[in-house]
């Protein structure tokens, strides 16, 4: 174990993000507790009756600290985008709480909600659909100021918009252009500028680079990191690309079928995963290095993700898990530090929702 710990330290350039993660960072800026979102399935036209529910998010808890990036990964249908919508108050949670600086924002409405929105902003996945095609770039980035006039007095707005364009690396002269005159990467910069306009503390990024070309992805990722340092932003970075998530995140949560399977620092999750799903996910990532690939163990899962309308009993991953035993179908595993690692000073001692948690390094060549 000592060797592994050493490894982790050597690899991680920011020790603060390593093993002692949440400790000593003060109060979390965002606390999510038992967040649930069920979409009802109804039948009938006139008299609708509920025949079931898609359990998109089914009891998720995590914290976000000032200035950190929390990555959330998972396959399609795991509920990661629904989490983003719930945090943005774009969907109403079925139950559970989201505390922003101690205040439960799921119960807010009207003026109070509008005030909170100033501090939590979003960057969307598709830069082609997230900008109103009939508005100029100046209007798009200036819209936050029109909605929240207290942020910038009328006369200042044009200057502010140009400053924002400059901050995201676009020519401030572009203010009169329309979105269709820009490339995908430039549009995403416009989207980021809009997200920054109100000086938020938290930015929720839902797959912000997956629609971009590889050569442009790196530009946008670098920009986001630069802005984080400059404005002390906290990011929730939702993505399916595990390499990018590792690069940008301090901590990472792995979701499967509406539940959090494992959460920890990037070293804990990537180098010392203990949940079988995380291990399978990591081992399946195609690595752009044939030499490294041949030394890696690959776990190929069978079958597909079950439907969230009818998830398996007990552990949701059991239908695809090679470790599954009877216990897994009866008892729902809780997200906690697994018993074998409790109290031990090892990177494997992080929260993992598995009855048979076991450390296994799948990304490094042995």
């Amino acid at each position: 174990m000592a060797e592994l710990t050493k490894d982790g330290e050597a690899v991680d350039p920011t020790p603060s993000a390593a093993l002692d993660a949440p400790v000593g960072r003060g109060e979390p800026i965002l606390q999510v507790r038992n967040l649930v979102k069920h979409f009802p399935l109804t039948q009938g036209i006139l008299f609708k009756k509920q025949i079931g529910a898609v359990k998109a998010v089914d009891g998720i808890s995590f914290d976000l600290y000032q200035g950190e990036t929390l990555g959330i990964v998972g396959e399609s249908g795991c509920g990661k985008s629904t989490v983003a919508k719930l945090l943005m108050m774009l969907e109403t949670a079925t139950s559970g709480e989201v505390f922003y600086k101690g205040q439960d924002i799921t119960k807010l409405s009207g003026k109070a909600l509008k005030a909170v929105r100033r501090n939590i902003q979003m960057v969307f996945q598709d830069p082609y659909t997230s900008l109103d095609p009939r508005m100029t770039v100046g209007d798009i980035i200036g819209e936050p100021f029109e909605i929240h006039p207290e942020v910038a007095p009328k006369g200042d707005r044009r200057k502010k918009v140009q400053e924002l364009l400059d901050v995201v690396g676009l020519n401030p002269e572009y203010i009169h252009r329309y979105p269709h005159q820009f490339s995908g990467g430039q549009r995403q910069r416009i989207g980021i500028a809009r997200g920054l306009a109100l000086n938020p503390e938290i930015i929720i990024c839902d797959e912000p680079v997956s629609a971009l070309d590889v050569s442009v992805q790196a530009q946008v990722i670098n920009l986001m990191e630069k802005l984080q340092d400059e404005f002390n932003l906290s990011y929730i970075f939702i993505a399916h690309d595990l390499s990018i998530v590792r690069h940008i995140s301090d901590r990472v949560g792995v979701m499967y079928l509406g539940k959090m399977a494992e959460i920890g620092t990037d070293v804990q999750i990537y180098d010392h995963p203990t949940h079988p799903y995380t291990q399978a996910l990591l081992s399946a990532v195609p690595v752009p290095d044939p030499a490294a690939r041949e030394g890696r163990e690959r776990i190929i899962l069978t079958g597909d993700v079950p439907s969230p309308a009818n998830p398996p009993s007990g552990c949701r991953f059991r239908t695809r898990c090679w470790k599954a035993e009877e216990k897994c179908s009866i008892e729902v595993p809780l997200l906690a530090v697994p018993a074998p690692f409790v109290g031990k000073d090892t990177p494997a001692a992080h929260e993992s929702a598995c009855h048979f948690a076991e450390e296994k390094d799948v990304v490094h060549v042995h």
Partner: protein, 352 residues
């Protein structure tokens, strides 16, 4: 098991017919699109070859011309607005571009098949999967409905769809994304083609399913000894299955190499930039290297080397002279088979 018996009937080494040499050879292919804004030069002189049993990966970003080249090979390019002003596509030594539409139709599907990215929109939603699979046999081999269905079930078994006999009458929407992509593969395999062109076959799938589908494709290719052209933007997927790689940029091939060498020692600044810009899974890096600027506008490709405005090594010569695909050698002049780089400064890039 019947399938295996069947493959035994096929003349032993595939492609040992009238033609020696590569299965497919693309020579100096040009494709342009006439649009309202002008002429978009999508493909500007592409050359590559694929032999039986070989996997060629064509790597490129959107607008690099990788898919358009494949469409030109398949003969499914929309013409107009597309036009092929120049070039040859030799399949077993015969030029597909000069063939009659009837001849081409016969080759398409039975000799060259294609797998698309979006399986859902490539399958007809109102026909059962079994019917669509069987159609290939009814049309090309004149089998009866009953025989075709038996064949369809065999194929579904072949691509490892569980309970094939029970699911043969299901409709496409009743299958998951991964299963639909398997059905697409089954369809492409139906007539045991010599060459399969797979255009981003796993891009729409989740990582865990991606691995399953890529493995299946590689396994079937080995078994049938087919040529495979894998078109993708994902450097990771390529690394897993390809034998050789052609990197495209602005409608040209800028680098070719056997798969291992490309990743170890790229000989073109664009390839190197791409490799450096991908974050690593096994360690946390510092700031990512980012290729500056934007992908080129096909209506107005920069003069000289198309990559020059974004290239860290660009000199005056790069802005005036279009670099040809230089054969890449070791520092001492030792040959590196299969390697080429369309860069004036390839020596500095690989050895510098």
């Amino acid at each position: 098991m019947t399938i295996i018996d069947k493959t035994a009937d096929v003349p032993a080494p595939r492609g040992a017919g009238d033609h020696e040499g590569p299965l497919l050879e693309v020579r100096d292919l040009h494709v342009e699109f006439h649009t309202r804004e002008g002429v978009a030069q999508a493909v500007n002189g592409v050359n590559y070859t694929v032999s039986a049993g070989e996997t060629l990966a064509v790597l490129g970003e959107s607008g690099s011309g990788k898919s358009v080249t494949a469409q030109a090979i398949m003969g499914i390019l929309d013409m107009p607005p597309g036009r092929i002003p120049k070039g040859e596509v030799l399949f077993r030594g015969r030029d597909l571009l000069t063939m009659s539409p009837e001849e081409r139709r016969k080759i398409r599907g039975s000799k060259i098949a294609m797998i698309f990215q979006d399986a859902l929109s490539s399958l007809n939603p109102v026909l059962t999967v079994g019917y669509q699979l069987g159609e290939m046999f009814r049309v090309h081999q004149g089998l009866s409905k009953k025989e075709a269905k038996v064949k369809a079930i065999e194929l579904m078994d072949r691509v490892k769809i569980p309970a094939a006999a029970a699911r043969v009458n299901d409709y496409p929407h009743q299958f998951s994304g991964g299963m639909r992509q398997r059905i697409m593969i089954a369809m492409a395999l139906a007539l045991e083609p010599d060459l399969i062109i797979a255009d981003e076959p796993t891009t729409a799938l989740d990582v865990t399913v991606q691995a399953q589908v890529m493995d299946l494709l590689a396994e079937l290719q080995r078994e049938y000894n087919m040529g495979l052209i894998l078109i993708t933007h994902d450097l990771g997927v390529v690394a897993d299955v390809a034998d050789k790689i052609a990197v495209m940029y602005a409608g040209r091939i800028v680098e070719t190499a056997p798969v291992h060498e490309l990743y170890q020692r790229p000989a073109h600044p664009y390839t190197r930039g791409l490799l450096d810009s991908i974050p690593r899974l096994d360690q946390k890096g510092q700031e990512l290297y980012a290729i500056k600027g934007l992908p080129p506008n096909l209506l107005k490709i920069p003069s000289g080397c198309a990559f020059n405005p974004r290239c860290p090594k660009a000199q005056d010569v790069c802005r005036t002279d279009v670099p040809v695909l230089h054969p890449v050698t070791e520092q001492d002049g030792g040959e590196l088979p299969g390697r080429g780089s369309a860069c004036h400064f390839w020596k500095e890039t690989i050895h510098g």
